[in-house]
């Protein structure tokens, strides 16, 4: 009886495994395609894309990138922007969340509703005004120009407020009786308990910033201030197609690498963040 049960279970397991493998191949195929293309000679690919399935494979495209491409600069820009935005958002959202959850000040609840309205305002609606203001401030083509708008994260403030609210007030009180200053209560007692929320918010912010195209496209008009997304798009839409397809793909591999590394390190948190099952 028990063997029948385990047989049926392992049959089910095998079906699931086969499905997972099939889906993985579907998901991975484009990435493998990009990697394979990046190791082929541009002219050969031009003549026949199927040449990707047989040697010769070369690393010339990567050598060319190291020598000539601006992709490193763009990766650096994207890193600065994404890390800046992530750190900034985490700091601001945590402080604001703590404030909304724990401090009593006049107008707090109204202010919170106002912040929530921010969730409903699409970026496009404020674009022209923001562009004007940033022109006057001479913020275009600067890092702060790309980073600043993203720092006002209504979602982040909302998430952190809810998270702080869920922490029992008795912990604050116990810490106060333990002679902890307000900042120490925040820093040593409450903040560590919000780590799952920090991870969720941090990952979403980082990925969002890394993949953002719209605002950097508008604000960064000089090639050396391009973020990776803007830079890559500019090469692909290059009219002369002077860079070959293999070269473009090598750039794409470079572009994807940092995200891949982030994923390797934060795998556990990303899974919980995406599944929404952040366990405290």
């Amino acid at each position: 009886m028990s063997s029948g049960l385990s047989n049926s279970r392992s049959f089910g397991d095998r079906v699931i495994l086969a499905l997972v493998i099939a889906l993985s191949i579907v998901m991975l195929a484009p990435a493998l395609w990009v990697i394979a293309l990046s190791f082929k000679d541009n002219a050969e690919l031009m003549a026949n894309p199927n040449s990707v399935f047989h040697p010769p494979y070369i690393i010339q495209n990567y050598i060319n990138i190291v020598g000539t491409s601006a992709v490193f600069r763009w990766i650096l820009n994207s890193l600065i922007v994404s890390i800046g935005l992530t750190v900034g958002t985490l700091v601001l959202s945590s402080l604001a969340g703590y404030g909304f959850a724990r401090l009593n000040f006049p107008g707090r609840d109204i202010l919170f509703v106002v912040v929530l309205f921010g969730l409903a305002v699409p970026e496009q609606a404020v674009l022209v005004a923001r562009h004007q203001i940033f022109s006057i401030l001479k913020f275009h083509n600067t890092y702060q120009g790309i980073i600043l708008p993203g720092l006002s994260s209504a979602f982040g403030v909302f998430l952190m407020t809810q998270y702080f609210r869920a922490i029992p007030k008795e912990l604050d009180e116990a810490a106060m009786l333990d002679n902890a200053s307000r900042f120490r209560v925040f820093w040593k007692v409450l903040l560590p308990l919000t780590l799952p929320a920090q991870a969720t918010l941090g990952i979403f912010t980082f990925l969002g910033a890394w993949n953002d195209y719209f605002w950097p496209l508008i604000s960064a008009t000089k090639k050396e201030m391009f973020t990776l997304t803007v830079g890559m798009a500019s090469t692909q839409t290059n009219f002369a197609q002077s860079e070959g397809i293999g070269y473009l793909m090598a750039q794409a591999v470079f572009a994807g690498a940092p995200i891949f590394i982030v994923y390797l390190f934060f795998q556990k948190y990303i899974v919980t963040a995406v599944s929404g099952a952040a366990v405290r």
């Binding site: 009180e173 116990a174 810490a175 106060m176 009786l177 002679n179 902890a180 120490r184 007692v189």
Partner: protein
């Protein structure tokens, strides 16, 4: 090491709701005081005001003669054990205990020594490197007490610390708390709505009700000479029997009162309060069963609670009033049996319309 706590004319409201009204209380050093009262009567609020977690809007709180009601919680020299324990979930047991000491820069070797002492006393030495999430409820409770003990406070404040434990553990912890008090000799204030906890732990009980203190006294004093009808009814299981008084006149012992047309009870209360008396209270143990016709009133047993060493008979008198009588040993009587009740009037209490109590001379300590 042990604080005298003085509360003077303290009041508190939340918004428009008054929670405590003009309350005064003085607690000598070393004393184990229990705040006892029904849910919502303001016990926790008063405790939290002493701790500094609630502001004092009117009145003063002094510890060892110094006003502390304006000081932040950490500087009052008190430690609190919360009902939910409020352990820091991300810290180990050891870190939970050292956090407060590190905040005031106690030397490392002193901290280590105190933690070791407390861990030995509370038998939590093997748990020091665990997180609260890996402990049972009882173990968490000990850690919460340990966190208070290492601070060597002048006074311990407990807010219903036993209510999350099962019955057996609660009894055991109660005894351990009493031992802890004997060992440390610190002032302890313990909030509960459980009268058994109050009776067993307290040097003195502060019975609170409806924004006020009803009575302050030693457990047996509260039990034998309740100051008000509320205290009489709140303390003691089963609840004291209350009978409405219809007439009162001087009798053999003191005041003889009539509770309905057929029942009259000779009490030991001085007769000069005859005009005020509105009700009579008498505990079950002062009421005994007798054969029909041989007591002050006849009735039928409605409910019988067999407790092993004794039984509680809920008797419906012929005039409809319910009285609980205590029958020691295992009774042969059953539900529906006709019985008579004998009231020991010397142990009866009388109350006036406002609830103020009058006791007989016999009941005097």
């Amino acid at each position: 090491m042990s604080a005298e706590i003085e509360i003077r004319n303290v009041s508190k409201s939340f918004g428009s709701a008054k929670v405590l009204e003009n309350l005064s209380l003085s607690i000598p050093g070393h004393e184990f005081v229990v705040f006892l009262g029904p849910s919502g009567c303001g016990k926790s609020t008063l405790l939290r005001m002493i701790a500094g977690l609630e502001s004092v809007e009117d009145g003063e709180i002094l510890i060892n003669g110094e006003r502390i009601d304006h000081l932040p919680p950490g500087q009052r020299g008190v430690a609190m054990v919360f009902q939910s324990y409020a352990l820091y979930p991300h810290m180990t047991v050891r870190q939970n205990m050292t956090f407060g000491l590190e905040n005031i820069n106690v030397a490392k070797d002193v901290i280590d020594a105190r933690v070791a002492d407390a861990a030995r006393m509370l038998e939590i030495g093997h748990l020091l490197d665990r997180k609260p999430g890996q402990l049972s409820g009882g173990q968490r409770q000990r850690v919460a007490i340990g966190r208070a003990v290492v601070k060597e406070p002048n006074a311990f404040l407990f807010d219903e610390p036993l209510s999350n434990l099962d019955a057996a553990l609660r009894t055991r912890t109660r005894i351990e708390l009493a031992q802890l008090h004997q060992r440390l000799r610190s002032t302890m204030i313990f909030v509960t709505h459980d009268q058994i906890e109050a009776m067993t732990l307290a040097d003195r009980i502060v019975v609170m009700n409806n924004k006020k203190i009803e009575q302050i006294g030693a457990p047996m004093e509260i039990y034998d000479r309740p100051a008000t009808r509320f205290v009489a009814g709140f303390v003691g299981t089963p609840q004291m029997n209350f009978l409405d008084v219809t007439a009162a006149r001087p009798g053999a012992l003191g005041l003889s009162v009539a509770c309905g047309p057929k029942l009259s009870i000779d009490t030991a209360v001085a007769p000069d309060v005859a005009g005020e008396v509105a009700s009579l209270g008498i505990r079950a143990e002062a009421v005994s069963l007798a054969a029909p016709g041989e007591g002050q009133a006849d009735g039928v047993i409605d409910v019988l609670e067999r407790l092993g060493d004794r039984s509680l008979a809920h008797v419906r008198l012929d005039d409809g009033q319910m009285v609980v009588a205590n029958e020691s040993g295992q009774t042969r009587l059953g539900v529906g049996a006709r019985v008579a009740l004998r009231f020991d009037g010397t142990k009866a209490h009388l109350f006036d319309g406002a609830g103020k109590a009058y006791h007989g001379r016999e009941a005097a300590p």
